[in-house]
């Protein structure tokens, strides 16, 4: 009897932990130890995030395709590919790194403290000058630690405001919103139709993104140009107050502090939400939902307090190269130069509705109607801070910021600012 629930729960959790730990460590060692054998044959281990929604469009396939093309061009270099579901990516990578089972090349989130701990090659050491200069320079700072760039952008994304044209028409709104007041007024009109006026995901998934878009609209942000923290600036607090006002008026979904982007994007795709900040990744969700035709929605620059923003939040996922074995450096360089070709960039972006990270690929996609508005916003996009403490700050924003809708925003921002300052 004693075994009971206790054991049930504990064993379950333990097994889960053990399984995830094992699976990551096993695959991790694959790269770490089965390294360059004799005769110039080199094996690289590659770990990447999986952007697919299922086995059909798994990113595993994408990378395996590249690996086999690469093998054909370089017969003595083999690349072992492992992709990890996004939900588990951070945890698995952290586990691998904590156990010192580094992959050779990683694509996904970039961790500044890996550079800080000296685990990574600098970008210039593992790319040819051509490849390096082709990378979008706007993301360089994000990937820089102490003046050296370590991470290399691989895929990018930018935010715009999506709105449901059908609902706008029913509510008698003729043009998309340009200012905060427009947003509020339009949201109220959509709300009158019994729908959610504005989708505001301030839950733990990505509160830091939604908040930043509003902060930017009021001239705020997380850091100023000198890299000093400005989390508790009056602009930011004012933005949160405006958002709280919308919540109070009931024009957003109820309790935004507990709502996540993934769920709200799905609701937008179902036609339940009038406006929501989105990225190109929202497009396939709309298409899958089957409720909204291409003519039923549009995306416009994000409204600011007094006019549409000329900049937006740009995010990128990055390639980092671990210093596993100096003998592999040349092979890694070849591999990076190979997969940064436009062909593969474009293939990736078409598959997952994301944006390229190289200048030449942007050029070759610029005539695409779906991508054009986002590509325009990309070069002058604003990024998250690059300080190592950011991942701590980000977590705190994700957990705490939603409270600003019901409590004093200034107090919550002060609290987060304090964390940021402590670490830098």
């Amino acid at each position: 009897m004693k075994r009971s629930i206790a054991a049930g729960v504990a064993v379950g959790a333990a097994v889960l932990l053990a399984v995830s730990a094992c699976s990551s460590s096993k695959k991790g060692t694959g790269g770490g130890s089965a390294s360059s054998g004799g005769g110039g044959a080199v094996t690289l281990s590659f770990v990447g995030a999986d952007y697919g929604t299922g086995p059909a469009n798994s990113t595993q396939k994408y990378w395996e395709g590249i690996a086999s093309d690469f093998k054909a061009a370089n017969p003595n270099i083999t690349v072992n590919v492992q992709t990890i579901n996004w939900n588990d990516f951070d945890n698995k990578v952290k586990t691998m790194v904590q156990n010192k089972q580094y992959p050779d090349v990683m694509e996904g989130d970039y961790f500044p403290d890996y550079a800080q701990s000296g685990l990574l090659y600098s970008a210039k050491d593992v790319t040819s000058p051509n490849t390096f200069s082709n990378l979008l320079s706007v993301f360089a700072k994000l990937n820089t630690y102490n003046g050296t760039q370590y991470g290399m952008p691989f895929t990018t994304s930018a935010r715009t405001l999506f709105y449901n044209k059908k609902l706008f028409q029913q509510a008698g709104i003729s043009s998309p919103p340009q200012t905060w007041d427009d947003v509020k007024a339009d949201a109220a009109k959509v709300k009158a139709l019994g729908k959610v006026g504005f989708g505001m995901p301030l839950g733990s998934e990505e509160a830091q993104a939604e908040a930043l878009l509003w902060f930017l609209g009021n001239g705020g942000g997380y850091q100023d140009d000198n890299g000093d923290w400005t989390i508790n600036s009056s602009q930011n607090a004012e933005a949160l107050q405006f958002m709280a006002g919308m919540v109070k008026d009931g024009v957003t979904e109820p309790n935004p502090g507990t709502k996540n982007r993934t769920d709200l994007w799905k609701q937008f795709a179902q036609g339940q939400i009038g406006m929501i900040n989105g990225s190109p990744a929202l497009i396939p969700i709309i298409q899958e939902g089957g409720k909204l035709q291409a003519s039923d929605w549009a995306s416009v620059p994000i409204p600011g307090k007094s006019g549409p923003l000329d900049k937006t939040l740009g995010v990128c996922d990055n390639v980092s190269v671990f210093k596993t074995d100096t003998k592999k450096q040349d092979a890694v360089k070849k591999f990076l130069d190979f997969f940064y070709q436009d062909k593969y960039q474009v293939q990736f972006d078409k598959e997952y509705d994301l944006l390229p990270a190289t200048n030449s690929a942007i050029k070759s996609l610029s005539s695409d109607t779906t991508f054009a508005p986002f590509l325009k916003a990309l070069p002058n996009s604003v990024q998250y801070p690059n300080a190592p403490i950011w991942s701590t700050v980000k977590t705190q924003i994700q957990q705490q910021l939603g409270l600003a809708m019901t409590q004093d925003p200034q107090k919550i921002l002060d609290n987060i600012q304090q964390t940021a300052k402590k670490g830098s």
Partner: protein, 321 residues
Amino acid sequence: MSETVARTRTEEIGPRRRRPARRLSYPRRAARALSPLLWIGPAIALIGVVVLWPVYVMFKTSFQRFTANGFNLGAAGWRNFTDLFDEPDLKSILVRTVVWVVVVVGVTMTISLGLAELFNQRFPGRRAARWALIAPWAASVLMTAFIFRWALDPQYGVINVFLHDVGVLKSFGSNQADWLGRPDSAFVWMMVVAIFVSLPFSTYALLAGLQTIPSELYEAARVDGASPWRTYRSITLPLLRPSFLVALLINVINVFNSFPIIWAMTRGGPGYETATSTVFMFQLKQAFIGESAAMSVLNFGLVIVVVLVFLKVTRWKDQVT
């Protein structure tokens, strides 16, 4: 007690008084002394690896500084603990944890007493009913929690559909329908789920206890003309005490440590407003590993204190062994 002491003493004195026995050689003596290890060794090793080692690592971690991604930056002294006690939310989290444990365990045990009595009666299909009772226990707690989360979805959740049909809920997607969005209602629903998954174990423990009560006692009570309530109070409850206490203690520990329900349903949010101390520990872990370890130490201490107080108050030894 005195008997044992006496016996040990004679044993100690015994060999000396007798003619010295042939002494075993040292290795053989050692082998004999160590031979019990062969039998208890695996258990000791298991406890060492699964219990003691993690406890050691937990304490060690709580005195170290880590980056959010798990790099060790060296000793932290007491800073993790001072940071933890400076958390403005800590007090309300601890209060909430007490409410969580008391309400969930209290309601679970009360309902279980009734259920156990019910399942102890003879009725057609009793076997099937007993099997069915296992379901919430056999199902993954995480899965159950997810099912409830979806059932409470403000737009499409089946519970909301039902409440709407009976006229309690006015409109879907409203604040009222967003049960898990409001901290207070979310907490109540999570307690409901916790009670739901705790019921089978408690009921079975009590049912087993009920079945050990000899039927002669009930016969005697009937002959004496005791009322059913009187019989229950004077015979069933006292004789049920050992199994009741076992179930209670295990439930207290389980419910205190309960993590998956809250994590799956609200992640302890918004902020820490639906977090118990166990969930709070995990929330901290995402960014403040050292402080989270300090919270683990605090939790560990709390469980030990609760168990010790419990054992003392219930005079465990007299009751159970």
